[in-house]
């Protein structure tokens, strides 16, 4: 399973993200998880953008993760657009896991697209609430 529970140091510069709902109620804020896989859907929307990532498991099966990101409005202010990510992108995402493991949810703290080195969440202004 390509779910790594201790993150690459470069991704560990934590960015806080607070939501219109209680993140403490939805995610385990004292834990971090890294998922790596193929982006299958990028939902640029309000109140929160969603990134669906297919993650290959140890047994070869694939599990669809839903990664919660900032609102389209807030992300737009940090230079992200609906064209930033595309289906098929290989991404490494670091974030807080959902409280219900079966939901396969992650709150995005930062990400890396290895193909071109694109990152988000490493600068102080790259936060969302």
């Amino acid at each position: 399973m390509r779910t790594i529970f201790l993150t690459v140091a470069a991704l560990a510069l934590g960015a806080k993200a607070w939501g219109h709902h209680s993140f403490a109620a939805v995610y385990l804020e004292d834990q971090e998880v890294t998922i790596e896989g193929r982006l299958v859907q990028f939902l640029w929307r309000n109140p929160h953008t969603l990134v669906h990532v297919m993650v290959e498991q140890d047994d070869g099966s694939n599990v669809r993760y839903v990664v919660e990101w900032g609102s389209a409005t807030q992300l737009g202010a940090t230079g992200v657009s609906r064209e930033t990510l595309r289906p098929g992108d290989h991404v490494v995402i670091n974030g807080n896991p959902g409280r219900n493991a079966e939901d396969n949810r992650v709150r995005l703290l930062n990400f890396l697209r290895p193909s071109d080195g694109l990152t988000w969440g490493l600068r102080p202004d790259e936060v969302f609430d």
């Binding site: 669809r64 409005t73 202010a77 939901d103 102080p124």
Partner: protein, 331 residues
Amino acid sequence: MTKRLPAIACALLAAAPAWTQVELTGVYEDRLYEDYIERGPGSDLGDFTGMPMTDEARAKALSYTSNMPMTIERQCLSQAPWVGLYRPRQYRIWSINDENYGSVIAWVVGGNYLRDTVTIWMDGREHPSENAWHPSGGFATGKWEGNTLTARMTHVKTTWIRRGNGIPASDQTTFTVHLTRHENLLTVTTIQEDPFYLSEPHVVSRVWEYEPNARQGPERAQCNTANEIPYLEDSGLVPHYLPGENPEEDFMVRTYNLPREAALGYAHTLYPEYRNTIRDSYQPPATCGRYCCGWIERQGLPGGAPNLTCNDGGFAELGPRGRRLIEEASE
């Protein structure tokens, strides 16, 4: 001379309101120096501390799961008009003025994501019939009481009170709201009453700071639904807990050793006297595991106050991961 005194007094009294009204126009940024947990990361599931809840409210709140608002039909539900007291968001306030005379007809508290704009009418109009439509922003009238704008709000929608842990509020909720500006600080106090879900008035006050350099971008945008949890898609499922099955019901008990009645919103636990009843039995946790220095953990990030350090030996600055590693190493 004596005969002139009543006339002079009347003239002074008549002029008094003009002296005690305060300009509210502007943007006020949240400063999370107080109530950091609730305004920042958000309430924990099962944390009903400080709430005077009825048994019905408690039962409904304990049926709530964090997945419930993720369902398609609930993602874009409007939040309570004064949910801003529980969120890390700014307030933008402006006035609607008579175009001929310039007098203030209404004060407007601009909305943001899922919270509708609130209009506080100052022109003396009556509240509509109790059978009238309940808009997301409720209906509010206001008047000046000294330097405080006091508003009375009715006609709200059914919502949740806090942010994301299921404490319900009915559409029979009323608010008395005080907006008080002390130079650059704005204090918003809400007194919420609900015949169904609150056994006593629920009083909250929070502070914002005037920000002349606030961002001018849009605060509101269309809410679009999407599949947030794959297994819920087209399932018709409504996530919930049956009575007695909520695993978070004792979260505050096991995390902070709080008495169950204090965690679950029994009104008598709100009062200072309650401390005396648990003085001999309450044992605080041996160590701090989370939010050890409150908002100071936001140091270096937008909204963090400068030049302050947490006096816990640096434990808080480690962040959740660092603390966990240290705790694991010490086990």
